[in-house]
Symmetry: C2
Subunit: 376 residues, 2 copies
């Protein structure tokens, strides 16, 4: 084992955790490489010895996390070394979303490629939570079947919900679904053998957007469906707030004394810029969004706003009205303009972000994955 | 030098920076102690050798940062060791504030005690920036004279301004002062020989409040003067935003189409809950504040709101109206109530926070201070 890596920490380190650390280091080095690095290149980049790298690479190949291939032949002298890449045939993440008027599932492999994608339009408002989740469980089973037919193994699942979720997967409130205190994991029996995470849909969508090409390190992601949520990304990290319930921009008051909201208050942004309101009056929607987004920029000094979910396809219709309000209401508008753009992933961002949470779990802890595979 | 401290870093460390690090470690250990620790106790707490601690302590005493005193005699056996404390007679911080209707200055010593405090009521709106700052320069000179009469040496000054400030001390906009692009340091010639920092007043007030006894690690600090600003503290750190211009809650829209604001927009919180508006109609002020604060809690999931500046003495008049709006408009109100409280430091928070920035600079870099003292 390499001394540099052990000395970086001040606490005693066991051999097993050194191996876990170094497995993750090698996997991340391959994952973050633009080329397909050789074992020697990995040794040079990590500072590990060649012998150590070779043993770790062998384990990662055996566990289905890396694949080795011959690089394109060189024109110069010398035998070209074999190149290593993330395996497209190993573990995969199952990303799920339940929203007011659709269910969605996708399978993303370790390289980040979406292998399967399913979307079903159904209105969850007319169903009790158990029935809505039974339909999602069936959709998840279809996605799982498709993944397994490809030879992929699901490493876990993550579910995006438009509501306030606790770390244990309890949905405290989802006003637009009409849910209150719904314990989700037991209602997805088809996934009982997998680790399952439940999180707010705007949070997961913001994470999906953060991982997309060209994403800025800090931005507000706004997800416009029937309800409206936001994910706040600061310096490459999702800001969750004290209890994980940040980003409830749909309930920011834009017209005090205005329309009643499902949450019990009135004048909430959701009542003026939710999907149905956008269809009815896009000018009012964009003006109301502009008021709420100006509040966010005044408070957080964010330079980028990303419109996602149902807003992405409506971006051109909404843009001008929002920008007019930002120019008018943001104190720093004349000093540092705000960039407004549509989400790269459109309305797939939440389920893509969910699948990505699973994949990142494997990439950050390959030792955990190897232990699971060996135990089977 | 002690091996543990060197090995904690992976980059090569020079002897001079090891000394600087260890000087800071010893000073912080004394500063954070409830008792007055002996040299032996410091060695035990830091892991440095006794000889190293003694040499460092001697330097810190010579530089006026520590004082050594006999502890209260013990009843048991053995000679009691001499105890060490921060010096109340060494470097001090000069905290300054310029606001719409007052100027303020305070001198805070290394132990955190306010040694001198000056407040002058004058209306800055009728003066050009150079004249307003000349009056502040005169007030700063009085504070400096008082500090030096005590034998204190000013380590630097920090100035709180109700506006958008760049790191170099340029005030880009201060709407309520009527300032635009005012380069502050050259207009304070009496402080030309001192390091001077300029920052937003709500930011400095939030830092002042954070350092006060019993402060929570995360809160929104709202400073209500003629204008209204906020400082956002997350996990013990001030959140500044992308350009340092976060917290402009005074320009959050609470009544679209409402009263025109000095910033050029209309319906800004400032027009409904600034100091003059509170005096005219405290119910409207509290309701408007409640709308804006609900937006903050919905967005940031903060559990504590601190009302400071001119709001602190009005707290009892404002509380009920704000809390009613929070209950009504915060989506999570039924799940996790928000604590509303008055600022501990009242309207002194900004200048206290400013002085504290100077003091913390010395406490975090005593080697820099010692080099300055030795060079004189």
């Amino acid at each position: 084992m390499n001394g540099r890596l052990i000395s970086a920490s001040r606490v005693p380190v066991r051999q097993s955790s050194v191996r876990a650390h170094n497995l993750a280091l090698v996997l991340q080095t391959v994952g973050n490489s633009a080329d397909r690095p050789s074992r020697a290149a990995i040794a040079a980049r990590t500072g590990l010895t060649r012998a150590t790298v070779s043993a770790l690479v062998d384990d990662l190949i055996a566990g289905g996390l890396l694949v080795e291939s011959e690089p394109a032949p060189r024109t110069g002298a010398g035998r070209p070394a074999a190149g290593l890449g993330l395996s497209p045939d190993g573990p995969a993440g199952l990303g799920l979303e339940i929203n007011v008027d659709y269910l969605a599932a996708c399978v993303v492999d370790l390289t980040g490629v979406v292998r399967h994608r399913f979307v079903t339009r159904t209105d969850q408002r007319v169903l009790p939570p158990a029935e809505a989740l039974a339909a999602l469980d069936a959709l998840a089973a279809r996605a799982r079947f498709a993944a397994e037919a490809d030879g992929l193994v699901l490493a876990g699942a993550a579910l995006a919900v438009p509501g306030l979720v606790t770390p244990g997967g309890l949905v405290r409130v989802a006003p637009n679904l009409g849910w209150q205190d719904v314990d989700v994991p037991p209602l997805l029996p088809g996934l009982a053998d997998l680790p399952i995470a439940v999180d707010n849909e705007a949070n997961l969508a913001a994470l999906g957007e953060l991982r997309a090409d060209g994403a800025e390190p800090s931005f507000l992601y706004v997800s416009g469906e029937i309800g409206i949520g936001a994910g706040i990304v600061l310096d490459g990290e999702l800001y969750r707030g004290g209890r994980g319930w940040s980003g409830e921009i749909g309930h920011v008051t834009v017209h005090p004394g205005g329309r009643p909201c499902r949450c019990g208050a009135n004048g909430c942004l959701e009542q003026y810029a939710g999907q149905e309101a956008v269809a009815a009056d896009p000018d009012l929607a964009a003006g109301s969004l502009g008021i709420a987004l100006s509040a966010v920029v005044n408070l957080l000094d964010l330079g980028v706003i990303v419109l996602g979910g149902g807003y992405a396809p409506e971006f051109d219709r909404l843009r001008e009205g929002i920008e007019a309000e930002l120019r008018r209401r943001v104190l720093t508008a004349g000093l540092a303009p705000v960039t407004l753009r549509a989400a790269t992933l459109g309305s797939d961002a939440a389920m893509r972000g969910a699948a990505d949470v699973v994949i990142r779990g494997v990439r950050e802890d390959p030792a955990g994955w190897l232990a699971r595979v060996q135990a089977v």
